[in-house]
Amino acid sequence: MHSVIQFLSTSWGVLEVLVAEGLPVTVAILAGGTVVAVVAALAAGLGRVSRIAPWRWLSTSYVEAFRGTSALVQLFWFYFALPRLGITLSAMTVGIVVLGLNTGSYGAEVVRGAIQAVPGGQWEAATALGFTRGQTMRRVVLPQAAIRMIPPAGNLLIELLKNTALALTIGLTEITFRAQALRSETLDTAEIFTVALLLYFVLAQGLSFGMRRLERRLAAGRDGYPGEAAAS
Amino acid sequence: MSKPSDGSDRTDTRERELPIVRMRGVTKRFGDETVLDHLDLDVARGEKVAIIGSSGSGKSTILRITIALEGIDEGRVEIDGESLFTMPGKGSDRVGAGADEVPADERHKRRLRERVGIVFQHFNLFPHMTALRNITEAPVRVLGLSREEAGARGRKLLARVGLSGKESAHPAQLSGGQQQRVAIARALAMQPEIMLFDEVTSGLDPEWVGEVLNVLRDLAHQDSEESMTMLIVTHQMRFAEDIADRVLFLDGGRIVEDGPPEQIFSAPEEARTREFLDTVLNA
């Protein structure tokens, strides 16, 4: 019993440190990375279905390159190898840009899949009414595709969260970095890593919850979705 | 109860014997829908009972309950005198003497299942096994027969359903009618006392219906010792008239009429029965 209390009080101390010092950095990488990922995913996802060849080619190369290699290798390359070619970036920049691009490459496939899942009849109807391709995409297809993108996007968001831990290898003082630092100071490895895992778990559940709410809001009023619109 | 087809006085013996399937006050709900409504039923050993009625009237549910693929919400189900399910009724009309709830654990269900076999509308053959293996797998794994014994039994059954030579065929290589016949052999291989047939020809192309019905006819007519009880849910009225000792017309979860085929098909007593038969026979 005594050791349980000991375990809990040490864990609390660990939690305080991880939350106070590591969490802000994790959130910063996550937020920045999300922005990069969304922009990249939209650009590349649309690019993959575009009729403009260079855009399509560029998108495909980007997607294959980033999906085909691991995030850790990418982080290392951008942080250690790129300076050799004359471009030196701060660790935070590398973390945000690289993890964002990595997630974005998977996101591009989600965007592409969702667009292609919108029934062809929608395109035909819009074209018959006189819409241009761009207008159709903006006003008819993307709004319908958007809701289909939310669940996989939620998963990718959690993958991004998990990847932020990799940033410790390029010196970013996020949660896992702090945990490692604590480990060298104290010997409470069990408490340290258990708390770290639980912290990530709670964050992941929070992200999932947020995404589900987002999905419900976007879907309000449609077939099969109760939502706010039908609540009256 | 039922009249034996040859008019002998076996009626007396049969009526004194315990029914092999007995249901009392059986109620089954799926969500808001009541599929069986305080149903009472006694089936005597060796009886051939046809069950007719419109879709959703609960016909298949009766079969599935008999082989414990579904449970019940209220009432009592007995197989050969032993309780399969006992669920006390809500309110004051408790069913069965001192009915304690017997939701039936897996082992209990499995033991009683040994006496029942079922053939499904969509065959449900195991696609990754040959016809013979489909038939022998359960006897080997469940009854503990050796492969040789099971194989011999299986071959005999395949011959009985007219499929000698198809031992090594996979279901995908067989026609619908052939698959259903294998399914019948598979159920028979376990040597059940009660055979359930759940619309076994409804999923077949018309050209295969005849061969399957013939197998059922043989099963019914070759049962000289009246040892095989058959419950047959079907839309094939002429067939039912031919082989059944007794016909049940089910509507809205209740048995509306219960009598010999001569009565049900030629002179039904209930208006609803007449309505149903009119719709079906004059379609």
Binding site: E64, T176, L197, F201 | R113
Partner: protein, 218 residues
């Protein structure tokens, strides 16, 4: 151009040694994930309530938390509880356990895809739950999901560099060592990236070919 070609050729043997370790870790981890993932899937399907709930939560926990932290846990915490593992074994265990959560999901979708009638028929014939799962359902569930499992293998391959952080001298670690030795990171890291890219592109094509082939065979 700052690229040094002679250096590049020089470091290839060392990198290949690292690649061997990478592949070892990948396939061993995959084997572990295949077996343990099946175990999770079977428990989800057939075990009594408490065990099943525990497994569901455990799998969700592993899936939602970083593989890196799980590796640290195995490598740093287990020794304190008496279980000291070499970096490679710890790495394989970490990869296998993490990805068992994903293979469990793949198995689950395969099992769910088997028509309910198969369960009914097996139950009616007297088979128990476990026997039905093993003899009737799994043989039907697994062939369609092989491409999905292949994709998990590729994912494990791409995550193998994480083992570098617990000092396994796989491909990335070799590159780091070489880079530190010679103060030149560009060539080793680029080569590592290229090797990963080529191998994963080839295996992705192969998995996609398997998907098409398996659909045609139906």
């Amino acid at each position: 151009m700052t690229w040094d070609w002679s250096y590049t050729w020089q470091i290839v043997p060392a990198l290949l040694r690292g690649l061997v370790v990478t592949l070892e870790a990948t396939f061993l981890g995959f084997a572990f994930a295949l077996v343990v993932g099946l175990l999770w899937a079977m428990i989800r399907r057939g075990a009594p309530g408490l065990l099943r709930t525990a497994v569901v939560w455990f799998v969700e926990f592993i899936r939602s938390t970083p593989l890196l932290v799980q590796l640290f846990f195995i490598y740093y915490v287990l020794p304190q509880w008496g279980l000291v593992l070499s970096p490679l074994v710890a790495g394989v265990l970490g990869l296998g356990l993490h990805y068992s959560a994903y293979t469990a999901e793949v198995y689950r979708s395969g099992i769910d895809a088997v028509p309910k009638g198969q369960w009914d028929a097996a139950t009616a014939l007297g088979f128990g739950r476990l026997e039905t799962l093993w003899r009737i359902v799994l043989p039907q569930a697994i062939p369609p999901i092989i491409p999905a499992l292949g994709n998990r293998l590729i994912a494990i391959f791409k995550d193998s560099p994480l083992l570098a952080v617990i000092t396994v001298t796989e491909l990335l670690q070799q590159a780091k060592l070489l880079g530190a030795e010679n103060f030149r990171y560009l060539e080793p890291l680029t080569l590592v990236g290229v090797i990963f890219l080529i191998l994963s592109l080839i295996s992705s094509r192969f998995v996609r070919w398997m998907e098409v082939w398996s659909e045609q065979a139906v």
